[in-house]
C-alpha cells in the first residue's frame, strides 16, 4: 500500500493506494497517530485508490477516530468504493466517521 500525505488548508489528507491489511495497517497507524498527536485534528482519508481492507485496517480508522473524538473532531473519509463502504456499514462505522463522496465536500 502507498500512503501519500498532503496539506489542504487546515486539513491533512491521507491518500491510500492498494491494500490496507495486516501487513500494511501498522504503517498507516504510525503515520496517522503521529500527525494527530502533533495537534492536527482535521484529517481526511481519501480511499479512492484503496482496493482492499480487512479488520486490522478498520481498527486503525477506529483508533484514529477515537483519538480525534477526544479533540472534538470526527474522522473524515471520502471517495469510498461501494464494496468497502459496505464493510464500514457492517462494522457499524457509518455513524462514527464523517463519510463524504468527494474531497470538495469534505473541506468545505
Amino acid at each position: 500500500m502507498k500512503i501519500a500525505t498532503c496539506k489542504k488548508g487546515n486539513y491533512t489528507e491521507f491518500k491510500l493506494n492498494g491494500r490496507l491489511d495486516s501487513n500494511t495497517s501498522s504503517m498507516l497507524e504510525k503515520e496517522l497517530t503521529g500527525i494527530i498527536e502533533q495537534g492536527n485534528k482535521y484529517i481526511i482519508i481519501n480511499l479512492e485508490e484503496l482496493n482492499y481492507i480487512n479488520s486490522s485496517g478498520l481498527r486503525v480508522f477506529l483508533a484514529a477516530a477515537k483519538l480525534l473524538d477526544t479533540m472534538g473532531e470526527k474522522l473524515k473519509i471520502c471517495c469510498v468504493k461501494d464494496y468497502i463502504k459496505e464493510v464500514f456499514e457492517i462494522a457499524g462505522f457509518l455513524s462514527i466517521f464523517d463519510i463524504q463522496n468527494s474531497m470538495e465536500e469534505n473541506i468545505k
Partner: protein
C-alpha cells in the same frame, strides 16, 4: 472440490487470494463475491496464524472449496487449539465511539459476510465450514484488483 494446503505464515495470504480468485473465475462469480470471500478467509487465516498455536512449529492449514447449486462451501481445517468462532461475543455496532471496542471485528465481519457457519472439533482439529450463497448475476460491481 479444490484444495489448498498452506503453512501457518501470514505471508501465505497472497496464496489464499490467488486460490480464491482462481475458484471464483472458474465459476464466473462477481467481484464483490471475490472480495468478500477473500476478506472472510483473510480474517480466519490471520486468526489461526496469530492465536491458534502455542508453539512456534510449522503447522499445516487446509482449505477446501466447492460450489454446489447456488452455494459456495468452504472448509478450513487447522490443528491449533480449540477455537469456535461462533462462541465469540457479538460486537455492539451501535455503541458510541467511546464504548466501541477495538477487537472482535474480524469474526464479526466473517459472520455477517457469510450465510452459514458451522464448527466441529474432530481428532484435535478445528473444522470450520462456511456457506455463502452465490448472488444472481445482476449489476456488475466496480472492479477490485485484489
Amino acid at each position: 472440490m479444490k484444495k489448498l494446503t498452506i503453512e501457518n505464515n501470514s505471508e501465505n495470504l497472497s496464496k489464499i487470494a490467488e486460490f480464491i480468485e482462481g475458484f471464483c473465475k472458474e465459476y464466473g462469480l462477481e467481484n464483490k463475491t471475490v472480495f468478500e470471500l477473500n476478506l472472510v478467509l483473510d480474517e480466519l487465516f490471520t486468526n489461526i496464524v496469530n492465536y491458534a498455536y502455542l508453539d512456534s512449529d510449522v503447522h499445516t492449514i487446509e482449505i477446501f472449496t466447492e460450489a454446489i447449486n447456488d452455494e459456495i462451501i468452504i472448509k478450513i481445517i487447522d490443528d491449533g487449539k480449540e477455537f469456535n468462532p461462533l462462541h465469540m461475543e457479538d460486537v455492539n455496532i451501535n455503541a458510541s465511539i467511546d464504548d466501541r471496542n477495538i477487537g472482535g471485528l474480524g469474526i464479526h465481519l466473517v459472520k455477517r459476510l457469510t450465510d452459514k457457519l458451522s464448527y466441529e472439533r474432530l481428532d484435535n482439529k478445528n473444522i470450520l465450514t462456511i456457506i455463502k450463497k452465490i448472488l444472481a448475476n445482476g449489476d456488475k460491481n466496480e472492479n477490485c484488483d485484489l
